[in-house]
């Protein structure tokens, strides 16, 4: 076992909590029952590391085996960095027929053509997702296993999720993906977040949505002693209406956990009380607005339901779940750079 694999294994053991490590080793299924028993997970981390290193040496396992272990852990615990979504475009006629073995071979072949030193590992997960681990090198250096890129792609869908990718590696990965999935292009889906499941659900619309319905209010009659029952009822109706519209815009129940949304606004300043600014020639008022929360969609839904945000919800905000994106460039004419959205007129 070389020094690099030893270091990677040490780091892996250090980062994974003891109980999770036990589970990961169980799933990995390479240790014999006796070996598994020899690892005492109540011991300090360095003792566990020593034991595992000894087992690896004994079996003459290499980097390949350490990365296997890492992949199993990452697949089970994917929320450890920023995930960025990409979308494949213009499928070829045979795009639908690409299956796993073919994809695997093609992807590895194309990427090694583009980069001299690269190490690729592909694993199919139970939920139909294909997980790819890439350790990048270049013409002069060996693949760096300490900083791998992870890519998740659901075959036969246009969606790709990527974490830890540098701008230099991006065109290489894009090229390999386009060729091996039989598409003609790939674009930034303008969606990113810390929870892989959340951005996947948003893009693939796998969460509970509410469709607009005009339904009769299910108001129960209020106690007659209330000072003004009509006002009460009206307020309750308004509240319920707001809640319904908030759910129509953002969804019902638990919502995908998105952390932020960013809007680059380059629109004119329009305010009837401020003539000077409104009449500024052709000049947009430039600003960037970032919304953040531990669960952005739930926060926004409550803003709308409580009246802090007016209903019906503006398309700018409802576009997050509707279009499955959280980065927008807003201009007045809608003909801005790649990712603009038309500014609603009011």
């Amino acid at each position: 076992m070389d020094d690099l694999s030893r270091r990677l294994l040490q780091r892996l053991v250090r980062r994974i909590p003891a109980q999770a490590l036990k589970t990961t080793l169980g799933k990995w299924d390479r240790l014999t029952a006796a070996q598994r028993q020899s690892v005492d997970f109540t011991q300090p981390k360095w003792t566990i590391t020593e034991t595992l290193l000894a087992i690896f040496e004994e079996n003459e396992w290499t980097m390949k085996h350490v990365t296997e272990l890492e992949m199993i852990h990452i697949i089970d615990n994917p929320n450890q960095g920023m995930w960025y979504a990409f979308q494949l475009m213009d499928p070829e006629d045979d795009a639908k027929s690409v299956e796993l073995t073919q994809f695997k071979e093609q992807f590895k072949a194309h990427l090694s053509e583009l980069v001299r030193h690269v190490s690729v590992k592909i694993k199919k997960h139970t939920d139909e997702a294909v997980w790819i681990r890439i350790a990048w090198g270049d013409s002069f250096s060996r693949p760096n296993h300490m900083k791998p890129t992870y890519v998740v792609h659901h075959l036969q869908t246009p969606y790709v999720f990527v974490t830890s990718l540098t701008s230099k590696q991006k065109p290489l990965l894009s090229q390999a993906l386009i060729l091996s999935t039989r598409h003609q292009g790939i674009k930034d889906a303008n969606l990113s977040g810390r929870k892989l499941a959340a951005i996947r659900d948003l893009l693939m619309k796998q969460y509970q949505q509410v469709f607009p319905t005009k339904y009769p209010g299910t108001l129960t009659e209020k106690n007659q002693t209330v000072s003004n029952p009509r006002i009460e009822r009206e307020q309750a109706e308004l509240g319920e209406n707001r809640f319904q519209m908030a759910c129509e815009a953002f969804g019902d129940g638990m919502l995908p956990q998105l952390q932020s949304a960013i809007y680059k606004l380059e629109t004119k300043f329009r305010d009837h009380t401020n003539k000077t600014m409104t009449e500024r020639e052709e000049l947009p008022f430039k600003c960037v607005v970032k919304f953040s929360s531990t669960n952005l969609l739930e926060s926004l839904r409550e803003c709308a339901a409580s009246g802090i945000a007016s209903t019906p919800v503006t398309p700018l905000l409802s576009s997050i779940p509707l279009k499955g994106r959280n980065y927008f460039v807003i201009t007045d004419n809608g003909l801005g750079p790649s990712s603009q959205t038309n500014q609603p007129q009011n």
Partner: protein, 382 residues
């Protein structure tokens, strides 16, 4: 109210009781009888009865001065680089400071700074021995405290000179010439304090209401308790209020033509579950154009003011904020007024609601500290 009685003892105890103790701080000991009469009255009444006509409220009997000034001078370029020692200035701009207010110091003398340095060193050493400050540094380390006056850092002649305190740590095994590490620094200042108030103070009191500290909390509380014991004052946390933050938005934006603010960044927090944070960053030129558009036309101003720079009115500040909010609302149909402003930052500095401030440009330090001094005076429980 019963605690008022205990307030008559020269206190050197906790900050928690500051309210009840309030009347003592600035009052010479021989005026105890006056205070006793105020025993059963409310806090505000005792404030009034103690200060009487000499109050900083001057001729205004009502409590209008409990609010921030509604108009202030436009920030002028203060070339304090010429007046203030460059090293001291650099230190003031290096850190983010945690703010507190301090009640006036009894018998504090700017001529005694050397002796204070020794006393505070000894005090910290003693606290360390009691095991209070051990976790700050390894126990082999000794502390060296130095007090210095920051000359030239003042708004008017009524302001007491700013005092800078630095604590260096030194291993006792280290050689004489070995470098000493700065582990804590702090300052007490008063910039453009209300002159009526400052003049109303009895002779033995020095008013340096704004205290900033940077370094371990343990040392901060050691320094504070040393001041409390020696100068009969009390400290309390100073938040930078919603209104002060809005003032800073305007004051800093107003500087843009002279010193590029790079960006105007404001952070709002909206009270929903889970809490929503909105960061609104405006292009500096667009922010300035908007600010310029809400400024009253110069003709409305008195001519005499033109030389000194036009003053800024709270209405203009509010209109500016309204403009920013309405542009936001037009896009998101979400009312920022429902939340509160928590943080403001530009290239000139940053200010947070929890009382942390960083001043990155010395030219506008005086303007910012004037506002904060005012806030500290208002927060003081007397």
């Amino acid at each position: 109210m019963f605690k008022i009685v205990s307030g008559f003892v020269r206190y050197n105890t906790t900050i928690r009781m500051e309210r009840q103790h309030s009347s003592v701080v600035r009052t010479p000991l021989d005026s105890v009888k006056v205070q006793r009469r105020s025993k059963s009255r409310s806090y505000r009444q005792s404030y009034r009865s103690c200060l009487g006509a000499a109050s900083r409220l001057g001729s205004t009997p009502a409590f209008t001065a409990r609010r921030l000034n509604t108009s202030r001078k436009a920030p002028k370029l203060h070339n304090i680089t010429e007046k203030v020692n460059a090293e001291q200035l650099a230190l003031l701009m290096k850190s983010e400071w945690k703010l507190s207010y301090v009640t006036p110091l009894y018998q504090f003398r700017h001529t005694q700074l050397k002796s204070y340095s020794r006393q505070l060193s000894a005090f910290i050493a003693a606290e360390k021995q009691q095991g209070l400050a051990v976790e700050v540094e390894g126990s082999q380390n000794s502390f060296r405290v130095s007090f210095s006056a920051v000359q030239g850092m003042a708004g008017t002649d009524d302001d007491a000179e700013t005092v800078l305190i630095q604590i260096h740590s030194k291993s006792i095994f280290a050689r004489q010439d070995e470098h000493q590490r700065l582990i804590w620094s702090g300052w007490l200042t008063c910039i453009n304090g209300n002159p009526d108030y400052l003049r109303s103070l009895p002779k033995d009191f020095i008013c340096l209401p704004l205290f900033g500290s940077s370094g371990s909390e343990v040392l901060t509380s050691s320094v504070q308790s040393w001041f409390q014991q020696n100068f009969d004052c009390c400290f309390g946390p100073l938040e930078i209020s919603h209104t002060s933050l809005q003032w800073l938005v305007a004051l800093w934006t107003n500087c843009h033509t002279e010193s590029n603010i790079q960006h105007l960044k404001m952070i709002w927090s909206i009270p929903v579950v889970p809490p929503l944070q909105i960061t609104y960053t405006v292009n500096p030129q667009d922010a300035w154009d908007l600010w310029n558009s809400v400024r009253k036309s110069p003709q409305e101003e008195k001519e005499t003011e033109e030389e000194e720079g036009r003053s800024i009115d709270i209405e203009e500040v509010m209109q500016f904020m309204q403009g920013l909010k309405s542009h936001f609302y037009r896009h998101f149909r979400l009312d920022l007024s429902a939340g509160s402003l928590k943080q403001v930052s530009t290239a000139l500095g940053s200010a947070k609601y929890n009382g942390r401030i960083k001043i990155s440009n010395s030219k506008y330090m005086i303007t910012t500290l004037t506002l904060l001094t005012e806030g500290a005076l208002l927060k003081m429980p007397i």
